[in-house]
Amino acid sequence: MTRRSVVLGLALALAAASVPAHAAGRGRRADTDAGREYFVEVLVLHATNSGKGIDERIGDLPELRKPPFSSYDSYELLQAERLPLVVGEPRELRLPNDRVLRTSLVAVLPRETLRIAASINQPKGKTFLPLLEVKAKVGQRFIVAGQKYRAGILVLVFRVTR
């Protein structure tokens, strides 16, 4: 018996004993694994101090209540996009300030972890943020903020989904 087999046996026993709910979703998981489709949700928020509060459409984002984001009292949802993540097929999203966000999937790592690249380009082709490379699991978020926009800043909230 190989060490992997031992590990798998222990793992299966543990899963069977402790997490029976996972078994119910096994068939569905198998179907989605076959497709292996991943996406990145991008929320484009406008942070200002206009006294309007947080747009209800944004949902629960605890990060906005923490510094430095808490220094803005208003967040408006300007865009919400779901971009497919496919290796070799970058996707673009035009931001409200006319810059273009470009995202691409670099690699799919074990345990639903993705390596994602992003960049932001100016309208005339000049690069604003040449490269950002992030490693994130499905469900995890990361934020790119700070671009000036109409008496405030843009806050881009990324979340990996499948």
């Binding site: 793992a11 402790s18 605890p62 990060e63 995890q140």
Partner: protein, 206 residues
Amino acid sequence: MTPLDQERLMAYVDGELSVGEVHAVEAWVARDPAAREYVATLREVDAAIEVLVQRHLDAAPDLGASILAHITRERLALAPLPVDGAPANDVEPPVPARLPAPRAWSAIVAAAVAAAAAFMVGRGHAPPPVERPAVAAVAPGAAAAIPGEPPAAAAGELEEPEAAASIEAVDFGDRAGAIFVLEGAESTPVVWLDDEPPPRARIREL
């Protein structure tokens, strides 16, 4: 499915195959429902164990650390000894002190088994999220690691699964920027761009 097939699928899920092998396995999995189901099960188990381990490490970090330390010591102690008559360089090298992620994960499985009993007792009583203090921002141009990123593991330490997304590299171009992590129930890395260009370009490989 043969044990060899299972072994290959395990290696695939663990990310231990070469690019060519990955393509071959993906083609196999695409056309073989049994292989697909097996891969799904492996991933399901990974996810379940991850939840278990994280819960218990969060609830009892000292216990989790002591278990992992014990496993590390055991593995080092079990490194193969030279076989009688065999030259030393023919012997499999000892287990490295710092285990690669997949191997570390296998060790954590054992820790999860140890924690399972406690889980069964304490099921449904997840610890309340702990509000950790925010980590200071990294000034542009500053050296060293990203806040929230684990420091390079010292000998004997095991890699733990990442609880948050991590910034692997940033090129701020001709502008300044900062990287920091918002700590809390969910840690979130933040890249902050400065819209005013600084005097000179900065590129930071992290």
